[in-house]
């Protein structure tokens, strides 16, 4: 692992008396792909939301690029360079593909000091980004509500590839994708990581984790149950970590 990009130290999250996270510690390096695995309710999505600024942790601390980091809002996380693709899609179906791609980061030009949307410039950028990723959408001006689930997810994936940043969090990004699109999505992830961007991918599918990840982190009942390099473990060992039958193959936690 190269120098750590994000370090989590003993991050916890309580909902009243319920402890969703009981102390999570792990780190992600630059250009590293970490697959976050765990059973339903293990706390994966909670963890992603804490890093991405949707939730505040109850205790613990995070270091981003060596500095103390806590995003109170997604806007702050974004400003720091953290992009997130959520499990439930974050698209506004009532506007077109271009508007969704640029959500919150519209290209404008000033007319009399007033920012005016530069639709043509934005459409050109989106067209290029989608074409280079091999995504075909009939018209960039169709509202997203008229697109299929796969097309929608492709827009989200292309969005994060385009904006990049320093760290990308993907919460089950391939749930609605077909075989071919998933393969392309995994390629995209490698491509992004090769640019030196850290990637955290949550998935349920063992095969995907082993295809793309450098390291596999397993969360069980709110703690890290295993943190191993991909080439030093096997799917069976990881499944055992997820279900908690044994800790065999698990590296030192944290």
């Amino acid at each position: 692992m190269t120098e750590p990009l994000l370090v989590l130290e003993n991050v916890t999250k309580n909902y009243g008396a319920i402890q969703a996270l009981r102390g999570i510690s792990f780190s992600i390096g630059k250009g590293e792909v970490v697959a976050l695995l765990g059973d339903n309710g293990a706390g994966k999505s909670t963890l992603v939301k804490i890093i991405a600024g949707g939730l505040e942790p109850s205790s613990g601390r995070m270091l981003f690029e060596g500095k103390e980091f806590l995003a109170k809002t997604p806007a702050e996380a974004k400003a720091a360079g953290i992009e997130t693709v959520y499990q439930d899609l974050s698209l506004c179906t009532n506007v077109d593909v271009v508007a969704n791609f640029f959500m919150g980061r519209e290209i404008t030009r000033k007319v009399l000091g007033i920012p005016i949307l530069d639709e043509r410039a934005m459409e050109a950028v989106v067209g290029k980004a989608l074409a280079s990723a091999g995504t075909r959408i009939p018209s960039l001006r169709t509202n997203v509500e008229h697109l299929s689930g796969g097309q929608r997810q492709a827009i989200e994936l292309n969005r994060f590839v385009h904006w990049g940043g320093k760290l990308v969090l993907l919460d089950e990004p391939f749930a609605a994708l077909g075989v071919e699109q998933t393969r392309r999505g995994l390629e995209m992830i490698r491509q992004v990581a090769n640019q030196g961007i850290g990637v955290v991918i949550i998935t349920h599918i063992m095969q995907q984790a082993f295809q793309v990840a450098d390291r596999i982190v397993v969360i069980r009942q709110g703690v890290v149950a295993g943190d191993v390099a991909r080439n030093k473990t096997s799917p069976d060992a990881v499944i055992n970590m997820i279900t908690g039958e044994t800790l065999a193959g698990a590296g030192p936690a944290g």
Binding site: A52, G54, T73, P74, A75, K78, A79, T84, Y86, L89, S90, L91, C92, T93, N94, V95, A99, M103, G104, R105, E106, T108, I114, P115, I116, L117, T142, H146, L147
Partner: protein, 331 residues
């Protein structure tokens, strides 16, 4: 379907309410005696200016996925404030400013500030206390109207200062300046909604608030601005109302809210948020106004107006559902 006829169909769907307006105007011109006159058309635009301005503010908030029931009472409060300050009879204080024209910007600013403050109050409660906009603005609808009664003591103010009245009397191309103000507001806010990031963000917030928050858009700030704008625009509507009636009465503008809702819905704005354009709303306003004019000209009892408006709203909602099914087939 070839791309060309598909484009044409989409154009018709996008501007359906304008086609309805033209259709209604043609039918009335053919069958209602004396309808086809420039004066009548000018009157339709003139009569719709207060309602039109109010509908703009209401649309902004509804497009952003919320609701503002207080616009009618806010307009009344602004009108009453302007009436009390600048009317010379009744409960008017008859304040004079030198030079005379200074009264115009001052009264306008006061009216919009009154509205803006109530809008900010509504917006703050919706955003910070996370209460339903429906309930908060329903409360405002009631207490603001109450405030109108309190400050007026139930009495009225008459004889608005001539310098302000001038806007209702002075005509440009056959329309009083008050009507031009309404038209200008529609143009301005249509551009804001269609061409600026602020407008785009409001539409997206109405579509999926969570997604816009995650994308880093400052949702709360935008929503408060929308409520303040709705209030300030309602204040402007109140200012126009005071000018039109040359004063203010305690029950000024009662019932406007429902007409504004009707116009907004007929204009193609979805009450679920995220859908609708302001030119469509203006067409909705004009459609209501042209039907009112036809009812007057035909000598039907005015009681029919409400029945027709109600049916029209119903028709608009049905039409909207129909449009959705066609669009789904197009995609």
């Amino acid at each position: 379907m070839n791309p060309r006829s598909r484009k044409a169909l989409e154009f018709v769907l996008d501007n359906l309410v304008w086609f309805m307006l033209v259709f209604v105007l043609i039918v009335f011109s053919l069958f209602v005696p004396n309808y086809f006159q420039l004066g009548i058309f000018a009157n339709i635009i003139e009569a719709s200016s207060v309602l039109g301005v109010m509908s703009i503010g209401l649309s902004l908030v509804i497009i952003a996925g919320h609701m503002d029931l207080s616009v009618e009472s806010v307009a009344a409060l602004s009108a009453m404030t302007v009436g009390i300050l600048f009317c010379s009879s009744g409960i008017g204080m008859g304040i004079q400013l030198n030079p005379q024209w200074l009264m115009v910007p001052v009264s306008l600013l006061i009216a919009m500030a009154v509205g803006g403050i109530i809008g900010a109050f509504n917006g703050y409660l919706v955003v910070k206390v996370k209460m339903s906009a429906f309930i908060i603005t329903l409360a405002s609808y009631i207490w603001v109207r109450g405030l109108v009664l309190v400050i007026s003591g139930g009495r009225s103010a008459q004889d608005l200062a001539p310098a302000i009245r001038w806007f209702a009397i002075q005509r440009l191309a056959g329309l009083p300046l008050t009507a031009w103000i309404a038209v200008a507001c529609f143009v301005l806010f249509s551009l804001i909604m269609a061409k600026t990031p602020f407008g785009r963000h409001l539409i997206m917030i109405g579509g999926n608030e969570t997604a816009t928050f995650r994308a880093g858009i400052r949702v709360n700030r935008n929503l408060v601005i929308a409520f303040v704008l709705a209030g300030a625009i309602a204040g402007l509507a109140g200012w126009l109302l005071a000018i039109r009636t040359s004063g203010a009465t305690a029950n000024l503008g009662v019932g406007l809210l429902f007409n504004a809702f009707a116009a907004v819905v007929i204009g193609g704005v979805s009450l679920k948020g995220g859908v609708g354009t302001l030119p469509g709303v203006y067409a909705g306003v004009l459609l209501l106004s042209s039907i009112n004019t036809a009812i007057n000209l035909m000598g039907l009892p005015a009681n029919y107006t409400q029945v027709i408006h109600g049916l029209l709203v119903l028709a608009a909602v049905l039409l909207d559902a129909f449009k959705q099914t066609i669009r789904q087939r197009l995609a």
